[in-house]
Amino acid sequence: MRENVVIRTISRISVPFIQVFALYVIVHGAVGAGGGFQGGVAFAASFILMFIAFGLSGVEKRLGKKWLMVYSIIGIAIYAGIGFLCLAAGGNYLEYGAIESAVGVAHLHGYLIDAVEMGIGITVMAVMVSIISDVMDRDGESP
C-alpha cells in the first residue's frame, strides 16, 4: 500500500518538523503551554502520518513494533523511579522538594518535573502508536 508520490513527499518533509514540535511541547511543559500528554500525542501523530503515507508493514519494521510496549514501560519506570528517588532522599513519594534539598542544586524541582513529563510523553507516544498499528493491522496486509 503505497500512496501517491505527492503524499509521500509531503509526509517525508513534514514528519521531522512534527516530531521536533512534539519534543518542544514536551520539554516546554514547565515554562509554557505544553506537557507530556499533548507532546506524546503529537509525536504519535507523526508516526500515524507515516503509517498512512508509507504503509503499515515497512514503518512497523523500521519502528520495531515489539519494542513499543517496552518503551511505554520505560516511561512509567522513569516516573515511578523519580518517586522512589524522593523516598530515598527522605521525603514522601513524589515529593520533589526532598531531592532538591538533599542534593542542594537550585531549580532541581523544575528539571525533575521535566523528567516526569518526559516519562509521560514516552508512555503516551508508545501506547498511541501501538493502538493505531493494532487497529490498522486488520486488512490482511501484514501477517
Binding site: 509554557g32 503551554a33 506537557g35 500528554f37 500525542v41 503516551v124 501506547v127 498511541m128 493502538i131 493494532d134 487497529v135 486488520r138
Partner: protein, 124 residues
C-alpha cells in the same frame, strides 16, 4: 422577561453542556449499533469536558501561565484544566478499548447490533 433573558445569557454554557449530554445519553440508550453507542459515549464525554472547562473561565482571565515578574493579571482557574487534561487521554483509551472489543465481537459472532448479539449469545 428581562430577568429571564439575563439568567439565560449568564448560564447558557450549562444549557449547551446539558443539551449535548442529552444527545449523547440518548444515543447511548436508544441506538442498537454498538459503534453508534460508542459515538454517543464520546459525545457525552465531550459534554462533560465542556462543562468543566466553561466553569473554569473567569471574566477577563488569561491562560494559567505566570507572566514575567511584576506583571499583574487575572488567571483562569487551573484545576479543571488539569482534571480534563487527564480525562481526555483516558477517554481516548476507553474509545480504543471499546472499538477493539467491537471488532472482536464482529469477528466472533458476525453481528454488530445489540439485539443480534443477544440472540447469538443465547443460541450458543
Amino acid at each position: 422577561m428581562e430577568a429571564v433573558l439575563e439568567a439565560f445569557l449568564s448560564h447558557y454554557n450549562y444549557g449547551m453542556a446539558i443539551i449535548l449530554m442529552m444527545i449523547g445519553l440518548y444515543a447511548l440508550i436508544a441506538k442498537q449499533n454498538l459503534v453508534k453507542k460508542l459515538i454517543g459515549l464520546n459525545i457525552f464525554q465531550t459534554a462533560i469536558f465542556l462543562f468543566y472547562i466553561s466553569f473554569a473561565d473567569v471574566e477577563g482571565g488569561i491562560a494559567p501561565i505566570y507572566l514575567p515578574e511584576g506583571m499583574e493579571a487575572i488567571y483562569v482557574n487551573p484545576l479543571p484544566h488539569v482534571l480534563i487534561l487527564t480525562a481526555i487521554v483516558v477517554g481516548v483509551s476507553v474509545t480504543a478499548v471499546g472499538l477493539s472489543l467491537i471488532v472482536r465481537i464482529y469477528e466472533e459472532y458476525g453481528v454488530i447490533d445489540e439485539a443480534g448479539l443477544l440472540k447469538m449469545v443465547k443460541r450458543r
